[in-house]
Subunit: 115 residues, 2 copies
DNA sequence: AGGTTATTGCACCAAGTGGTTCAGTGAACT
DNA sequence: AGTTCACTGAACCACTTGGTGCAATAACCT
């Protein structure tokens, strides 16, 4: 599902997936080891169906991988997708730092001399 | 607007803001210097109203700062908000790396020996 | 003053999100 | 076989999102 997607789609899904506090907590929880849908849902007091949807979003973003084992679904952290998010943010930060070093430096300067 | 928000709200808004390809391009454009709503809208063939909304989302996330100068609104990159996003991703990555170093290391190993 | 320009607010629309409940389905236990 | 358990799919709901067009406003130009 994550394959054959162009870069901006990957970023869209990745950032959208981690733009939700519940889903970020799910990732943190899975950082401590695999869990089932039910185990993930319990601490949130959320319905299984609701949690299933969150996991699905994370899975579509490649951040989580799931596998049906017996009657339960085991969820664990995905393998690499967050690298893309990180590298885009780094790219943007370079733009941002360059802006500070560039023409707008006078702005910061003015601000300083004002006080 | 960005003040007096708890951390998870900041992250929600920041990640949601950059989860859209159009808005990421806006940030890149603003990395080359300030622009008006109209200048931002033009390359996308988008209505001014539409662009205004995107800018508003970015502004709410603290990623962009705007100021009315004459009849135009000058938009430029915000000052620091992306740091929060970056540091959360770093935090998550530590979890992820720990997972790799832990019990699941055998998994990576198997993958390598398969080929 | 009068005309042009740039943005803005409002109303609208289709599609997506985050949640629910309820009725299956398939695996595990007795 | 029958029961229980964990998940799943479908339908629903209120709210948000990413767009649009149009009318109003405010600034600038002549």
């Amino acid at each position: 599902m994550v394959n054959h997607m162009v870069q901006h789609e990957v970023l869209d899904r990745t950032f959208a997936a981690i733009a939700d506090a519940t889903r970020r907590q799910i990732l943190v929880r899975l950082g401590q080891g695999p869990a089932s849908i039910g185990e993930l849902a319990e601490p949130f007091g959320m319905s299984l169906t609701g949690m299933k949807k969150h996991v699905h979003v994370l899975e579509n973003a490649g951040l989580v991988v799931t596998e049906k084992v017996g009657r339960a679904r085991q969820c664990r952290l995905g393998t690499e997708r967050l690298e893309d998010a990180m590298s885009w943010i780094r790219f943007y930060q370079r733009l941002w730092e360059r802006r500070l070093d560039g023409l707008d430096a006078y702005f910061t300067l003015n601000k300083e001399t004002e006080q």
